[in-house]
């Protein structure tokens, strides 16, 4: 796991994002509005920017529109009004051919996991690699390593329906990060795990962030937002406000040294 996940030649993998160009916008919303079908507008005139390499939380009450914002970012929804750009491309006007290539640079943790029921945990996590054409031997090596790291070494062949809620969520997270995305979007990724695992997963996201991945995490967990000092986008009645992190709080316990290595987490 470690060798493959420790950075080596990150710049070579990300030619579109020259080192130091932190100000390049990975996601940019400009006066975006969205309504579902004939319903009311979920929000309007929303503007914000996620610079490359940034780490943001996205909070807001239930039904405020967090998942909707993420859906716009991962190209599952099109804005009704306004402009959404992803990696500098206007998503409304990008040619259809281009979209799959943009999507492969994303990692998404869906709120309802969206695991494929008739595939094993391993096959589910391998999906982004298969789609990207990664050679099978590499898949066979990387996937079990990552699953072991999230504490599912014993469940490689389990169908999603035989996994507990938190185990499913960890499979979903593994699938989102397996191809080291340029942009990670996670929707309530710790809703079904206990605080210990939540910490561990957040550290995984921070580790990825250090490798250059831009991260946006929608969450209700105020504690998490407070504990990790990252800027927070707050959705409230369709309006977005950016809240800078409070002065760093003492982290609970020492941060694990070998960040992404470590043993199993199952039944801690």
């Amino acid at each position: 796991m470690a060798d493959d996940w420790e950075i080596a030649d990150e710049s070579a993998r990300l030619p579109h994002r020259p080192p130091g160009a932190e100000d390049t916008a990975v996601v940019r919303f400009e006066r975006v509005g969205l309504r579902y079908d004939v319903g009311p507008e979920v929000f309007r005139d929303m503007s914000f920017t996620l610079p490359a390499g940034s780490f943001h939380f996205l909070t807001g009450g239930s039904g405020a529109g967090k998942s909707t914002v993420l859906g716009l970012c991962y190209l599952s929804l099109r804005p009704t009004r306004g402009l959404v750009t992803l990696f500098g491309h206007d998503v409304s006007r990008a040619p259809t051919r281009l979209l799959p290539r943009l999507r492969r640079r994303l990692g998404v943790v869906f709120q309802d996991f969206r695991l494929i029921e008739h595939l094993s945990a391993m096959d589910n996590v391998a999906l982004p690699l298969r789609v990207a054409g990664v050679p099978e031997p590499d898949i066979r090596r990387h996937v079990p390593e990552l699953l072991a790291w999230v504490g599912l070494a014993d469940h490689l062949e389990a169908r999603p329906s035989t996994l507990s809620g938190g185990q499913k969520q960890r499979v979903a997270i593994a699938r989102a990060v397996i191809n080291r995305p340029d942009l990670l979007l996670a929707d309530e990724p710790t809703g079904n795990v206990d605080d210990r695992i939540a910490m561990r997963l957040l550290h995984l996201f921070e580790e990825l962030n250090k490798l250059g991945t831009t991260v946006l995490i929608a969450t209700h967990n105020e504690q998490l937002v407070r504990r990790f000092a990252h800027p927070c986008l707050q959705l409230n009645h369709g309006a977005l406000t950016l809240r800078q992190p409070e002065p760093p709080q003492p982290r609970p316990g020492p941060r694990p040294a070998g960040g992404l290595q470590g043993g199993r987490m199952d039944r801690p």
Binding site: S76, T96, P100, R103, R104, R114, D123, R130, V131, A132
Partner: protein, 296 residues
Amino acid sequence: MRSDIPLSRDRNARLVPVLVGVMVFLAVLAASGALALDNVLDRWRRDVTGTLTAQIQAAPGLGAEARAATDRRVALALEALRGHPAVASARALDDAELTALVEPWIGAGELLDDLPMPRLIDITLRPGAGGDTASDVARALAAAVPGASLDAHRLWLSRLMDLGEALGLLALAVVAVVGVATTLAIIHATRAGLTAHRPVIEVLHLIGAQQDYIARQFARHALTQGLKGGLGGFMLALPVLAGVGWLAAQVEGGLIPRVGLSPWDWLWLVLLPLGAAGLSMLTARVTVLHTLSRMP
């Protein structure tokens, strides 16, 4: 080709092969029925078209004299027939042929020799003879030779032929209807099978798979399932066809020719399961691409 998404592990999706199987089974039965009917008609056509039989009554009385008189009548009739513009050739059946024809009805034996047997003449008409040629020939024959008539039997068979041809058309129409229904059912079953996979399609799409990659996965899956079902249905139809063939062989009369299928017919039949599988594959591809085209 490298390992793909193992769609076939989805155990709920047995519906499509079973339905394709049933549909192919029914289509094979319908098509082989139509083909066999066509074959029967073909032989009747060859037997009947352009041929007639004339019957010459035997001269009264027994013995050599009467026979000679009958022979003269036959010669007269042959002459008259050969002179008719619509007749290509005319040939009198010899004694052996006549006896063979009558034997089943009256029984063999010396009795036959004693009977004043009517004589038969096979007439071949020129190609393109019209529908009323037979009546024309009949009138000419009756005028030339007393006691001579055309065999109504053959004429009737020619009418039966017309009926048979119409029935054959009808059978083809029914087969076409069955084919359309089958096609619709396979398309529908394949599409319904795919609705269960819509979340999978969605996830693959969001993960950044190319449309063609996704469509190919599902098309291949559908092809496999369709082949399984189609060949299964075909295999199930074989014993039924064999049974029907055996029954038909049992009832073969002199008139009903052997009911059977030519190698070409078999080729058509084999095309049915292959076509069904192909249809299933195509439907899957089109449906998936359509589903994808409606996702942003």
